[in-house]
Structure formats: structure tokens, C-alpha cells
């Protein structure tokens, strides 16, 4: 796990590029620590963070590192509220506060197991940097709501795609493709990130087949470094995990189910 510098850092936006329904925010960070796949950062615009809908945003927002290359960190944004809206409006050269890399990322696949990457929607982000780092390549299965969002699949190489509305790739859930894939070759490790419903599907599927799975969870976060105890999900053994410091990547066996309340209501 890479440690974050003990202070948020004022960095500079290199570019914001459209990618279908999403945008890719590129932040210049030549001196920062190399993030590990699955780690995230807390982001906030330096200027005009606030004054949006209902006078928000106020707190920084969590975003997975989608890629780290050439001294730049890339983040994949979906405009779902005042924070992501504001970040997506940033222009090259504008200042952005970055706290990170934070959290506990993905671990290497166990010997003899191939990697299957399963992403849903904007949750594909941490799988891109994971694919970059996996030496032996991986099967990539990505699900989206529609074709505009499915353009996001270009973030990864060789992805097979499913859409809810059938406008691209398989018409149906990405877990359909995962089930078929596991049928063919169960000696796999699944790496998944996406909406709670999808993660619960992946968890149940893998549990049934005794396939190890690492789930990158989301939860509303105030701090990102264990200070607020706000980002919890119930642990199978009882009690709660803090997604920011115990996760965001959590071994599926730690969870009884993926709680819908973990993140935003879908």
C-alpha cells in the first residue's frame, strides 16, 4: 500500500477529456507517490468548491485512481451531483486539492488463478490501473446502463461489454458474462468494482463457486483516512469496516452481503 503525504496537495489539472457519458480528469502529479490499483484520492477544486446545488459541495469527494502514467493521475468522473459536476468543469491549469493515494488496494492474484476484472459503470475506473499492472493480462467484463456510458470501456483493453438496454454488447447483466466465464474456467480471481447491486451479484456468484473475489466498495466519505467513522459497511463477523482504511478493496468473504446503503442509493 502506498502511503499518502500527510497533507492535501495543491496540484494542477492537465486536462479534462470526454469519454462517452463520463469524463477523464487528468491531474499532473510528478512528485506524488505511485498509487496502487484500487487506491483512491479525495479531490476538491481549489476555487468555487461550494455554491452549487443546495450550497454544496463542502467536503472533498472520493475518486478511484483510474490510471497513473507519465507523472499524471487520471480519474474517471460521472456527473451525479455538485462535486463531480464541479470537478468535470475544471480546465487545464486550474488548481485541485488532492489527498492521496488512500486506502487499501487490490492484491495480486493467488498462484494458478487468472484474473477476471468485472466493472460496472464508473466503477470500471480502478480496474484500468489494475489491468496496467497485472503482468499476465486479464479477462475484462464491463457492464453499463447504455451505449453512451459503454464508451467508457475504452479505458481498458479488450473488454467485453454488456448493457442494460442492449444498445451495445450483451443485453443484460455483466454477471451473466461472469457466470459463463467462471463456468469455463473456475480457476480465477475476480476483481470487481461497480454499483452495490452488481457487487452483490458478483459476491454471491463467487461465494457459490468458491472463487476468491476482491470487491472495491464505495461509501459516502467525509474524510478518507479513518477519522470520521462515516464510511462503514457491516462485516460478516459482526461490527463494521471503514471502507476508507479497511478498504476500499475488501475480500468478499469479509462481507455477508454488499449493503445497498454502503454508497448512494442507486
Amino acid at each position: 500500500m502506498s502511503l499518502a503525504p500527510f497533507s492535501r496537495r495543491l496540484l494542477s489539472v492537465s486536462a479534462v477529456e470526454q469519454l462517452g457519458a463520463y469524463s477523464v480528469l487528468r491531474v499532473s502529479d510528478p512528485d506524488g507517490p505511485e498509487p496502487e490499483p484500487g487506491q483512491f484520492a479525495m479531490l476538491a477544486a481549489d476555487e468555487r468548491w461550494g455554491g452549487g446545488a443546495d450550497e454544496r459541495p463542502y467536503l472533498a469527494r472520493a475518486f478511484s485512481v483510474a490510471r497513473h502514467t507519465g507523472g499524471e493521475s487520471h480519474y474517471l468522473l460521472e456527473d451525479v451531483g455538485p462535486g463531480s459536476l464541479r470537478l468535470g468543469e475544471l480546465g487545464a491549469g486550474e488548481a485541485i486539492w488532492v489527498l492521496g493515494p488512500l486506502g487499501h488496494g487490490f492484491s495480486e492474484p493467488p498462484e494458478g488463478r487468472r484474473a477476471i476484472l468485472v466493472g460496472g459503470g464508473v466503477g470500471i475506473a480502478p480496474l484500468a490501473i489494475l489491468q496496467d499492472r497485472l503482468e499476465d493480462g486479464a479477462t475484462v467484463l464491463l457492464g453499463f446502463r447504455d451505449a453512451a456510458r459503454a464508451e467508457g470501456a475504452a479505458l481498458l483493453r479488450g473488454a467485453r461489454v454488456a448493457t442494460d438496454d442492449g444498445s451495445r454488447g450483451h443485453h443484460g447483466l455483466i454477471t451473466d458474462l461472469l457466470a459463463a466465464e467462471l463456468e469455463q474456467g473456475p480457476a480465477a480471481t475476480v476483481y470487481a468494482c461497480g454499483p452495490a447491486g452488481m457487487l452483490e451479484g458478483v459476491r454471491a456468484l463467487c461465494a457459490e463457486r468458491e472463487v476468491p473475489a476482491q470487491l472495491a466498495l464505495e461509501a459516502a466519505m467525509a474524510c478518507g483516512f479513518g477519522a470520521c467513522f462515516g464510511c462503514v459497511v457491516p462485516r460478516r463477523a459482526g461490527g463494521y469496516l471503514r471502507v476508507c482504511v479497511d478498504g476500499p478493496v475488501i475480500d468478499a468473504r469479509e462481507l455477508d452481503h454488499v449493503d445497498l446503503h454502503a454508497g448512494a442509493p442507486a
Binding site: P5, F6, A222, F225, V232
Partner: protein, 307 residues
């Protein structure tokens, strides 16, 4: 800019608000530097209760206009877990004064809450026995089992609780007042009469958020409370003007020192609270936005001329 507070030598007047900075988790995220360069001149633990608590079920957070509503529910390992596992990891931290010269040891202030005077007594006694604990803070924003009202909201009741635990320790005893009361200055006076060495305020304002629509509200029905604990506490800039009024009212009424907090984001905000009578200033929610905010605020305060 170093200050003495209840006999403790502090590098500067900025400390953390209870429950808003977990030094152990921060060291996991940022490394050992956290322990050497803590942004706070004293470290206040989260609230410790006799038994362990899991806290409230999620969701626990809601972002409000210029503020945050939390319904965390005081998760903690309980007295034994805290004293056995956490406290040893909390000693030996240091922080630098704002001017960068030398390092100061960071005393640990342990915040405790009981639901009866008896529980408070057991907590205070156990903490008193531990040399690593420099001072105690009593969180009295806890409902009286009989009346349902916060113990800290009633001056007389508060005085009795403080009086009951006062003989059990010679360590400085800070009472963290609840802001959800008609007359916070009278409560502060009660704490002082009971023997408190200092008071701290404000805790969060009782607040609420409803589930965002459309989901998961049944059509036509009323949206249910969003937070697992139904209500929560409002913190951050939104409450700063309320904090300033309460700190001023309390400081005008008591002779013991006051720790002011509520929405502090800059050295100027800290100075305002000190102008209103606070001896120390605690930073809470701002640390979430910037983990090293406390150190920055101490520097800004220093640059403003010492206060």
C-alpha cells in the same frame, strides 16, 4: 505562542475536537510522520464508553449547506479496549510549534461518556489510574436514562454529575457542554460549581436529513430519515456563528478556561473564538477536508499575532 492550559504545556492553542481525528488510523494512511508532527497541541480521544459500541447503522453522513450531519453513534472499543489497545499507541506523539522550532510532547486528553453518574465515575477512576492520560473530558451529551434529556442540558443535573466524579481524579477535568440547550452559560456554571477545571463547546447541533428522492421513498409516501440514527449532529462552517455566541456567553459567565470549537477553518476563525473568550480552540470537521488543517490553523493564528 506556546500556552499553558490547566497546567499542561502546549505548543500552540489548537487541539482536535473529540471524534474527528483518529491518530492510529491516520498513521496507517500517512505513516509515522503523523505521530511526530501531529497537527494538534493536545490529542483528544474519541468518546470512550464503558462497554464497546459498534455505532449506528449506516448511512452515517449527510452533507448539508456549509456543513456535515453525522450520526456515527460513538463507536469505540470500550474502556478496556481503549486503555489496553489504543492508549499505548497514543502516547509519545509530538507536534511542532507554528514557528517550526523544536518539538513539543502532545498530551492525551481522554473523552469519556457514561449514561449515569455511576458509569462516569467508573470511567474517570480507570482513567485516573493511567499516567499516560493528561486530562479528562466528560461528554455529557448523553440522554438521562429517566428523562430522555441530555444530562448536559440541565445545569443542576450537570453540576451533580461533575461533583460526583470530581473527587476521583486530580487530572484536569474538562466538561464538553451540549449546545442543544436553552442556556449554555448556566450549564457551564453548573459544571464549574461541580468542580470542572475547564469547559469545551460546542458539540454538534441536533439535525436531520431525509432520504434523497426518488429512491428509496415509496410513491406518494413521506421520505424517511436518511441517517441510521434518524437524527444526527450538524458540524462545520454552518454552526460557526452559533459556536461564537455560545462561547462568548459561557466565557462571560465562568472563570475556568474555555475550549472553543465549531466550524473553525482558519486562523481568523480561531482568533474570533479566542476574542470571544476561548483559551484553546479545537478543530473538527475541517480536519476531514485537510488532515493537517490543525497545523495550518496554528500557523495562521501565529501570523495574526499570537491570538
Amino acid at each position: 505562542m506556546s500556552v499553558t492550559f490547566c497546567g499542561l504545556e502546549l505548543a500552540h492553542p489548537i487541539i482536535n475536537g473529540s471524534g474527528t481525528f483518529d491518530a492510529i488510523a491516520a498513521a496507517r494512511a500517512f505513516g509515522e510522520q503523523v505521530r511526530r508532527e501531529l497537527p494538534f497541541a493536545a490529542y483528544v480521544s474519541k468518546t470512550i464508553t464503558l462497554g464497546a459500541r459498534e455505532g449506528n447503522s449506516p448511512p452515517r453522513l449527510w452533507e448539508a449547506p456549509a456543513g456535515l450531519i453525522n450520526s456515527i453513534g460513538l463507536p469505540n472499543k470500550g474502556l478496556d479496549g481503549y486503555l489496553g489497545e489504543d492508549l499505548p499507541l497514543l502516547v509519545g506523539m509530538s507536534c511542532g510549534p507554528p514557528d517550526g522550532a523544536g518539538a513539543f510532547a502532545v498530551p492525551v486528553i481522554t473523552n469519556v461518556m457514561g449514561s449515569t453518574a455511576g458509569e462516569f465515575a467508573r470511567l474517570v477512576e480507570a482513567c485516573d489510574a493511567r499516567a499516560e492520560i493528561a486530562a479528562l473530558e466528560l461528554n455529557v451529551s448523553c440522554p438521562n436514562v429517566k428523562t430522555g434529556l441530555d444530562i448536559g442540558a440541565d445545569p443542576l443535573q450537570l453540576e451533580q454529575v461533575v461533583r460526583a466524579v470530581r473527587p476521583l481524579t486530580r487530572k484536569p477535568l474538562i466538561v464538553k457542554l451540549t449546545p442543544n440547550t436553552a442556556d449554555v452559560a448556566a450549564c457551564a456554571e453548573g459544571a464549574q460549581e461541580g468542580g470542572a477545571d475547564a469547559v469545551s463547546l460546542i458539540n454538534t447541533l441536533r439535525a436531520m436529513a431525509l432520504a434523497p428522492r426518488p429512491a428509496p421513498v415509496a410513491d406518494g409516501g413521506a421520505a424517511p430519515p436518511w441517517l441510521g440514527g434518524r437524527t444526527g449532529g450538524l458540524s462545520g462552517p454552518a454552526i460557526r456563528p452559533v459556536a461564537l455566541a455560545q462561547v462568548a456567553a459561557v466565557a462571560a459567565r465562568v472563570t475556568i478556561p474555555v475550549i472553543g470549537m465549531g466550524g473553525v477553518q482558519t486562523g481568523e476563525h480561531a482568533r474570533d473564538l479566542m476574542d470571544a473568550g476561548a483559551a484553546l480552540v479545537a478543530v473538527g470537521t475541517e480536519s476531514f477536508r485537510e488532515p493537517a488543517a490543525g497545523a495550518r490553523i496554528a500557523r495562521e493564528l501565529d501570523a495574526l499575532g499570537g491570538r
